[in-house]
Structure formats: C-alpha cells, structure tokens
C-alpha cells in the first residue's frame, strides 16, 4: 500500500505526518510506504497512492483523486492517525 502525507511545503507538517503514520502502521501491522509530499506534487503522488493524509485546509486543494483522503486534525496524535487509517483500510 502507498500512503502520501501532504503539507504545503514538504518540510514541516508532512514530515510529522509521515513519522506518525509510520508508527501507526507498525502498530496496525500494515505494510505500507509513506511518502511526504508538498501540495505542488501531491496531486501527482496521490494518483498512485491508496491513501492521502492531510489537513482539512489542504484536502480541498488536493481535490478529486482516486486515493482515499483522510483529514487529520492533530498531527502529533498517533492514536488519532492510527484510528483513522484503520477505519480507512477496513
């Protein structure tokens, strides 16, 4: 499975999301590659991904993609990310 963590610039929030998503996936026992992407390349990256993780603000910028877009409120909260990934893949 491929997951893309999207933020505006690719240095801050997407990096946080990528790290915490990897922790979440480990605890769920899901084998997936997580890629951090900025909004400029996100649409392209999302085309080949199954899941996109991002904030509510950026989700609207990403628009329609085949991937499932998951909105994360608290990027520090591995529990929230774990629960949302779990319900997305089930």
């Amino acid at each position: 499975m491929k997951i893309v963590a999207v933020c505006g610039m690719g240095i801050g929030t997407s990096v946080l999301l990528k790290m915490n998503a990897e922790k979440a996936l480990r605890s769920l026992g899901i084998d997936a590659d997580v890629e951090a992407a900025d909004i400029g390349v996100a649409r392209g990256a999302a085309r080949t991904a199954q899941v996109v993780l991002t904030s509510a603000e950026l989700a609207t910028e990403i628009g329609d993609v085949p991937a499932k877009v998951i909105v994360i409120d608290n990027f520090f909260d591995v529990a929230e990310i774990t629960q949302k990934i779990q319900s997305a893949v089930e």
Binding site: G12, N20, A56, N74, F76
Partner: protein, 152 residues
C-alpha cells in the same frame, strides 16, 4: 535519537503579546532572525504560506508550526519558540486558538527529522503543552523540555 529540544531552539520568548496570527508568525520569524537561522525575508515567506494555503500549520490544539519552504532566506536549519500571553485565532477548523508558535526553517527536507520527532513526542501531551505555554521565561521552557526529554 537523543535530541533535546532545549538545545535545538535558537530563540525562546514567553508570554509574548500578539494581536493576530500575522503578528504571532512575525514573532516566530523574529526569533529565527535573532538566532541567526534566517533573514527577515523568511518571515514574509511564512506569512505568505498561511495566506496561500490556509492555517494548515496549526498542527495540534493550540500549537502552530510556522514554516515556509527551504529558500535563500534560510541560513541554517533551526527552530524558534514563541509562547503567547493570550491566544490568537489562525482560522483553523479544529485546533484554534493558538498559544504556542514554533518557527521552523530548514535547508532541506531531511536534516531536521529527529527534531520533528522529538517535538511531536513532547507536544502530543496537552498537559505538557499547558505547562510550556504557562512558562514565564526562557529558562523555565528549557528546564521543562529537558525534563520531558528525560521522561518521554
């Protein structure tokens, strides 16, 4: 991955007054400039990110991670810390209002990963965030961060 955030922060201000998100981000930018991390241009770049993409950098309840992309305005990778005496609204749907603004400047997409991991592990705890925001000087912030680093 023994990163102590207290050592990574090039500037810390507490109980700062900001009228709105723009002033709060400017304070974080001023901290990066004072720490020799970035030039004033980077402050404007961080504000432009909010104007263009919205307040997505409010990454957790009460906490904004102000940043822009690596640019010539970034002199080295570094972080600044601004605790606000009164919270400001960024317009975020879930995490407003903001009482802590962390300014991040990075020269590339990789060099600061350990710091970001430490930041996430400390700031995931709302009680720790509350204590850090209530701190009245730089030394108290550094002391708390050192204490949290030892126990996380």
């Amino acid at each position: 991955m023994a990163v102590n955030l207290a050592d990574e922060l090039s500037s810390i201000v507490t109980q700062a007054a900001a009228a709105d998100w723009r002033e709060a981000v400017t304070l974080a930018g001023d901290g990066l400039v004072a720490g020799g991390v970035a030039t004033n241009r980077y402050t404007h770049e961080m504000i432009d990110v909010v104007l263009q993409h919205g307040p997505y950098m409010v990454v957790a309840p009460g906490v904004a991670l102000a940043h822009a992309r690596p640019s010539p305005a970034v002199l080295r990778t570094g972080l600044s810390w601004v605790g606000l005496s009164a919270p400001v609204e960024f317009g975020h749907t879930a995490n407003d209002p903001v009482s802590l603004v962390i300014g991040l400047a990075a020269t590339d997409h990789q060099g600061h990963l350990a710091v970001m991991a430490e930041l996430a592990s400390v700031l995931v705890d709302p009680e720790r965030v509350r204590q850090l925001i209530a701190a009245t000087d730089e030394h108290e912030v550094r002391r708390l961060l050192t204490e949290f680093a030892a126990t996380s």
